[in-house]
Symmetry: C2
Subunit: 275 residues, 2 copies
């Protein structure tokens, strides 16, 4: 049973047609205390206007999602991508979000050497640390599911995120986002969550549907799938995490088709039984 004050609902969970003002009002109406904002929508509404909107409604931010994709083997492409991450950090500071969710970037057909892609991302992160530190926003390294390694993220495990954090030596500026959907299958997950400890700055929750039909947009509502969500939550809390539990469901065929009030009501109910 999750304390309702610890619930956060990620903006992407609601139908894409729902604009930011209507989304923030929806959360306030249901007394959901926190959210993680989707960067594209925030920029569409305006960063300053969005910052005022969430402040006026008393909604806390648990994250700003996302920036990264810095794995390119082309140096000028990679530099431009890093500049964009710096802008995202600035935006997050303006929004008073504690972290920017960092998505590494995938493998490039121009260079199939995945170890080299990982090395480029780690080098790029080292260059971003000073800016994150300067604006007081953490980069939340988010391991993503191996099935989107080619297109989105060569950071595929919490172990690799921990290894990178060890190398970066910047615990004040770099943390780890643990997403149940991305990590539940990992035989090493218990050990690596314990190792992550205070690095865990974000805990994202959705369920894995047994009949999953899409590699990105078919996540399940907590309780509808096969992940032991309560078990994973216990592990991050045993590792010291005391922050919000952020429900983040990309669901093109189901929840994005539903009435927004129904989606939020369902999440609040499931938080009492499935988390």
């Amino acid at each position: 049973m999750l304390d309702p004050q610890r619930l956060s609902i990620h903006q992407v969970t609601l139908p894409p047609s729902l604009a930011t003002p209507a989304f923030v009002e929806l959360l306030a109406r249901h007394r959901v205390p926190a959210t993680s904002l989707w960067r594209e929508k925030t920029r569409a509404h305006g960063v300053a206007a969005t910052a005022r909107l969430v402040a006026d409604h008393g909604i806390a931010l648990t994250g700003y999602c996302f920036a990264g994709l810095i794995a390119s083997p082309d140096p000028s492409e990679a530099a431009a991508a890093r500049d964009d991450v710096r802008r995202a950090l600035d935006e997050a500071a303006q929004l008073r979000a504690p972290c920017v969710v960092f998505v590494a970037g995938g493998v490039d057909a121009r260079d199939r050497d995945i170890a080299a892609a990982r090395a480029r991302v780690l080098d790029g992160l080292a260059e971003l640390v000073p800016h994150a530190r300067a604006v007081g926003v953490r980069l939340a390294l988010e391991p993503l599911h191996p099935m989107i390694c080619a297109t989105r993220s060569v950071l595929s495990t919490v172990k690799l995120a921990n290894d990178w954090c060890d190398r970066l030596g910047a615990e004040d500026a770099v943390g780890i986002a643990v997403d149940t959907y991305a990590v539940w299958w990992d035989p090493e997950i218990g050990r690596e969550i314990a190792r992550a400890g205070a690095r865990i700055c974000s805990f994202h929750v959705s369920d894995w549907l047994a009949d999953t039909q899409d590699l990105r947009l078919d996540r399940g509502m907590p309780g509808d799938g096969v992940i032991d969500l309560a078990g994973l939550r216990r592990q991050v809390e045993e590792a010291g995490y005391r922050g919000h539990v952020e429900v983040e469901i990309f669901s093109q065929r189901n929840w994005w088709q539903r009435d927004p009030d129904e989606v939020v009501r369902t999440i609040a109910e499931r938080a009492q039984v499935a988390l």
Copy 2:
């Protein structure tokens, strides 16, 4: 450049409509020296008849695919599944296949504890070892991609396969099948292939398409995707593997729609440039 004598083409790579006799004649016509047979088709044609067919055409078997799915939390279901694996081992012996590809089984909605599912599979394997030893056929533990962990296999990494082999202590009866499609994303893969060493009894090859559209049936022809196939082959060979390179492509939208001769010709060409 792969020595053509080391090429094996898995039966599932050809369109599902192609019956076993036509498939074996196709391989012989193109002088492909080896194959791995799909169990369902072998049983449809008859095990004894298939054994005669491959022997008459001088085709070697590199595997028999597949058996397993022993993860059920219901003891009688799990026992029935183990009996079926024993039958598959008997069939493989009759076919003179060196190994049965072992697919662990997924997570059951009746018991979301994935660690418990893994423990059940390991216990079940221990019960199967005597039969594998008696018939002289190895169980080739095949780690499958984490994206099919829920439905097909809680054995998700080569590290876990190595851990299980350590626990089983039955190197004569249990090996590991390394499939590029399942393992290419793994940050630990180099280390774990080296650790596997002589356990590697099968090397399966297909490519990861950047625009993959299905969780099981959208594998790519070597050279069409982002996997460093030559690099992975070098790693298994440095670990001591000297067996066949088995091309195994489940491709509903592309290669299963093509003329069988074109599929085999393309594989033979790609073996010279992409493996």
